[in-house]
């Protein structure tokens, strides 16, 4: 899959042991002395901490934001080590990336938090680090994490310089009026050029050069200085323990035994076991079972106080109870709820169906659990003649969709059928009958099966995004051609230094959904970066295209596309399908159709001979093993008419590049 290529292009996370740094202050739950170096960050069987020794003035809540692979997770590992939160070993790699998929892909998908204890100038500080995801798909999570912070560390790679996501993340923090500490990482690399990066930061973000901290997170160089800057430059939270309880739920996880674990930031008051609390969103009442901090695993405490960040377990069992952005307050002491967040806005929709309908209920419960840990996925029940009962899911982007699917497989052992991703199109209806049926004239189409006919529509609309590309100037020609091929309109072009250009383009969202990022990366040898933000809708000439196998439509591949792209896309899909479908006992016609009109066709010829030549006494065991594997594989095939298609074939053909 093209994604593998993308991951491989990212910086390999090789870390060497760093020079010994003695923690300046041991965390309170570690007995001082050699035994302290046992890895002790499991929450069970430990003394509860007293958090009252950390008043608001000694608390700093901050996030690390960065372009992907600029070393965010490595810096987090070093900060955890220096503060003694985790024992310093060679194995601390992406400690905050708990999910298997995060470690495999070297990306952070889900924000994690950790409380660090640090002594500076004789004062014990409580530093709450809220890690953020590092991919453009997850920028929604970044803004959520930032709502619990007063400042950020903005990490920029000393070699790569400012990238598209650096720009996007900077503006998120800037608009939230957070203190920003620019950090230039990887100064140990041979090609590091921190002066150039400092100039870029000054030019683009208007931050004086002398405010940048040059570090090597990998080797631990200057990481202490970052902590000191956090204390000096980031203000403590503005809140009061004597106020009534006001806790913002900024994340939640699900534990099979303990139910919902809500990550909270206290904007007022205190909370402890036995408190009766109320959710401002659902008005439901709960009794608190446990509170604590994350170090980064759960560490129970007696209480949590205003300004602190931690977790609350309060007998929430249902998926819908821990609404992210919700405010918790004490029973009978209601407070004005915090503003919360805009809900995540799905950019990509796809149908998800069990391979076997008998698995429907298992898949349903897996989806419920997974969406509790990933509330940015939207779920609507859906059904189709061909695929049975299933769901239409909304994702933040294609990577998000792939990660979600991978988590279903890894954590819940579920294999599913996914349809071609589609963006949320709109149609302005002209047919009175349809307007009455929908109850409105403007409808959103998230499933190609519901695409209304041109005759009953006055205008179709497609979503657009404003994309930012940062690239070395030698690739500019190829990138402009790529953008034009994607029907994009140039909005801005700026040299951020002598070699690098920042481009802004207005893209139709559907053009960048599937593989724009991969293509951009490959034609710029990995040097160009990309980020985008929502930019509303524009009118577009849209049609629905079906792919047929021997006359039967492939529901997974039905798509809404721009009229100008239909022929090329249809031809391309037919060619790719021809390679992806194994030969069978009969000839297979692979066609692309708009309505009844066939616009492209390929023919896959029938098998004429498929039988192993020799099968005698010594061959039988091996032969049977192979046959049984084929029989198992056959059960997993998707049948369209009587054509058998491997399950991943459809998603594979949508990717433009075949290379791994």
């Amino acid at each position: 899959m093209a994604l593998a290529g993308r991951t491989a292009m990212w910086w390999a996370r090789l870390r060497s042991p760093c020079p010994a740094v003695v923690p300046l202050c041991y965390p309170p739950w570690l007995p001082v002395g050699p035994v302290a170096w046992e890895r002790l960050y499991s929450s069970r069987g430990q003394e509860k901490l007293d958090m009252s020794m950390y008043p608001v003035e000694s608390i700093r809540n901050f996030s690390i934001i960065a372009h992907v692979d600029h070393g965010k997770s490595t810096l987090a590992d070093r900060l955890l080590e220096i503060t003694g939160t985790i024992a310093k070993t060679d194995h601390n790699k992406q400690v905050l990336d708990k999910l298997q998929v995060e470690r495999e892909r070297g990306i952070t998908v889900k924000a994690q938090s950790a409380s660090l204890f640090y002594n500076h100038d004789g004062v014990n500080y409580l530093l709450n680090l809220i890690d953020t995801p590092g991919h453009v798909d997850f920028s929604y999570e970044v803004s959520r994490s930032l709502s619990a912070c007063q400042g950020v560390i903005l990490v920029v790679d000393a070699n790569e310089g400012i990238q598209a996501q650096t720009v996007a993340n900077f503006y998120l923090a800037f608009e939230a009026q957070l203190a920003i500490i620019p950090v230039i990482n990887k100064i140990d690399l041979k090609n590091a050029d921190p002066e150039r990066v400092e100039k870029q930061i000054e030019k683009l973000f208007d931050i004086p050069i002398d405010e940048c901290v040059r570090i090597s997170a990998k080797q631990g160089t200057n990481v202490e200085k970052v902590l000191q800057k956090v204390i000096e430059k980031i203000p403590p939270p503005q809140c009061n323990t004597t106020d009534p309880l006001k806790a913002l739920v900024f994340d939640s996880t699900f534990d099979h035994y303990r139910g919902v674990i809500a990550n909270v930031a206290l904007f007022g008051g205190e909370i402890q076991q036995g408190h009766k609390i109320v959710s401002a969103h659902t008005k439901k009442r709960y009794e608190v079972n446990e509170v604590g901090i994350l170090t980064p695993n759960e560490q129970p405490t007696h209480k949590l106080y205003a300004g602190q960040v931690g977790y609350v377990i309060a007998g929430m069992k249902e998926v819908t109870e821990a609404q992210i952005g919700d405010t918790l307050f004490l029973y009978k002491q209601p407070v004005e709820p915090l503003p919360g967040f805009k809900s995540a806005k799905p950019m990509v929709f796809a149908g998800m169906y069990p391979i076997d309908q008998t698995e429907y209920n298992n898949l349903k419960s897996a989806l419920e659990r997974l969406t509790l840990n990933d509330s940015s996925v939207t779920v609507h029940r859906d059904s189709s003649l061909a695929l049975g009962a299933g769901w239409r899911l909304g994702f933040l982007g294609l990577l998000h969709m792939e990660v979600f699917n991978q988590r279903l497989e890894q954590e819940y052992n579920m294999s599913v059928i996914l349809t071609a991703p589609t963006v949320p199109y709109k149609a302005i209806l002209s047919s009175a009958k349809l307007i009455k049926e929908y109850g409105k004239a403007e409808i959103t189409i998230i499933n190609p099966a519901q695409f209304p006919d041109k005759l009953s529509v006055s205008e179709y609309l497609e979503p657009t995004v404003l994309g930012t590309i940062v690239t070395p100037h030698e690739y500019i020609g190829k990138i402009i051609a790529l953008c034009q091929d994607c029907r994009a309109v140039q909005k801005d072009m700026l040299y951020i230094d002598e070699h690098r250009i920042m481009l802004k383009y207005l893209f139709p969202l559907n053009e960048i959904v599937v593989d724009f990022y991969d293509t951009l990366k490959s034609l710029s040898s990995g040097y160009a970066s990309f980020d985008y933000e929502d930019a509303g809708y524009q009118a577009a000439d849209l049609i629905k295209m079906d792919i047929l196998l021997n006359g039967n439509p492939v529901e997974e591949l039905a798509m809404i596309i721009h009229h100008d792209k239909a022929h090329a896309t249809g031809k391309f899909l037919c060619e790719r399908l021809k390679d992806a479908i194994p030969r069978q006992l009969f000839e297979i016609a692979i066609q692309a159709a708009i309505g009844k009109k066939i616009i492209a066709r390929e023919t896959l010829k029938a098998y004429r001979k498929n039988v192993v030549a020799k099968c005698y006494g010594g061959d039988i065991t091996r032969r049977m093993k192979l046959l049984k594997r084929q029989a198992e594989g056959k059960k997993l095939m998707r049948k369209i008419g009587n054509v058998e298609v491997p399950r991943d074939a459809f998603i594979r053909v949508l990717k433009r590049q075949t290379d791994k």
Partner: protein, 378 residues
């Protein structure tokens, strides 16, 4: 007989090329293992014996005679029983053949590689065994293996026709199968040698079939043709799911070890490496390395996968012998994959059993996964 003179680029058999073979020791072990396993199986009568390899024609007739004596001593070996020796034409000169015949061999299986012009110039290609021809009174040479591999359709046909001239009543015709771990496979998969186009291979197979049937041969298995009733009894027993005992390094067997009080058919494999095998035979009478009890389902799966390779197919009698309560008709005569395949003309199910049609036989490997799925559902 696990030894060969040289390694052939296409062969993945369990074989060893060593400078000196202690033939007496090997022969003693073969005899001992044959006795032990026959006794374990409590088989009353042996219908056929097959000396395979390696290159068994490199062994001496004495060894063959000793093994046959042991078999006849442990079970009944009827006078007319088929006793085959696999031979390499270049190692099959006239005088030892007479010795083998005297030792009891009454059927010779000769492997010949045929190739068209270029793509595989290095393929082991001995001359046609004209030296053996004078020795060919009807019984002694009736089985020649041909591995056809070529670009030129006509070349294959011509060579097939030439083969008809010297083999009288039996022909096994194989298109080359690239086996994992062979030099040839590495060359083809690595792109150093071209793979023949699928359609050409299909054409060659169909032409050869038609030609042989026109010449009076019965196409009785995917790759086997016989006339005047010269079918290979030994190989038929594999495809019919009968019992067989494998003796020697790496040999496979399928039998019920009644001698141990067991009632279950087992898949057995002897130790691969000859020296280790000999040590085991010397110390415990046999070199069985692996034995797996076959479930009823597995036995039926094998019967299906093997039986459908033959023109008689899986007969109701053989199926009923394993599965008295669930008939062929009950499994494959009901709506499902098998029924679809029958309607499409690839399979036939009638009172004579389940078998492939003429067209279906060439596509058997595409039919089997679906049939196995259907069987597993019962």
């Amino acid at each position: 007989w696990p030894y060969c003179r040289k390694r052939c680029s296409y062969c993945n058999f369990n074989k060893y090329v060593v400078p000196v073979v202690d033939e007496e020791a090997v022969a003693t072990c073969l005899v001992r293992e044959a006795r032990t396993l026959l006794c374990l199986s409590q088989v009353q009568s042996v219908t056929s014996v097959f000396f395979g390899g390696g290159t068994p024609s490199l062994a001496s007739p004495h060894t063959v005679a000793a093994v046959l004596e042991a078999v006849a001593g442990a079970a009944h070996l009827p006078t007319g029983a088929e006793v085959t020796l696999e031979a390499n034409p270049s190692s099959t000169s006239t005088s030892p053949l007479a010795g083998f015949k005297a030792a009891g061999i009454n059927r010779l299986s000769i492997g010949v590689q045929v190739r068209g012009a270029p793509p595989h110039p290095n393929l082991h290609s001995p001359p046609m065994p004209s030296a053996a021809t004078p020795l060919t009174p009807p019984q002694s040479l009736d089985d020649a293996e041909l591995q056809l591999l070529g670009r030129e359709h006509t070349a294959a046909e011509a060579r097939g026709a030439a083969a008809l001239g010297f083999c009288d009543n039996h022909l096994s015709l194989y298109q080359l199968t690239l086996e994992q771990g062979t030099a040839l496979a590495a060359q083809v998969w690595g792109g150093a040698l071209p793979a023949p186009p699928q359609d050409l291979l299909a054409d060659m197979y169909q032409t050869a079939r038609a030609m042989l049937v026109a010449a009076g041969f019965r196409h009785y298995e995917v790759s086997n043709f016989a006339r005047k009733g010269s079918l290979s009894t030994h190989n038929l027993s594999y495809w019919r799911g009968e019992q067989y005992i494998g003796v020697g390094p790496g040999a496979h067997g399928r039998f019920v070890p009644w001698g141990e009080g067991s009632h279950s058919r087992e898949a057995r494999v002897q130790t691969l490496e000859p020296d280790a095998w000999m040590r085991e035979v010397q110390s415990r009478g046999h070199g069985t390395r692996r034995r797996v009890v076959l479930s009823l389902l597995e036995q039926l799966e094998e019967l299906l996968a093997l039986g459908l390779r033959t023109d008689e197919g899986v007969t109701p009698e053989r199926w009923g012998h394993l599965s008295p309560h669930l008939s062929l008709e009950a499994v494959f005569g009901v709506p499902g994959e098998a029924k679809d395949l029958q309607e499409q003309g690839w399979l036939v199910l009638d009172s004579r059993g389940l078998r492939c049609s003429w067209e279906g036989l060439a596509l058997l490997d595409s039919l089997l996964p679906g049939l196995l799925c259907q069987l597993q559902q019962h």
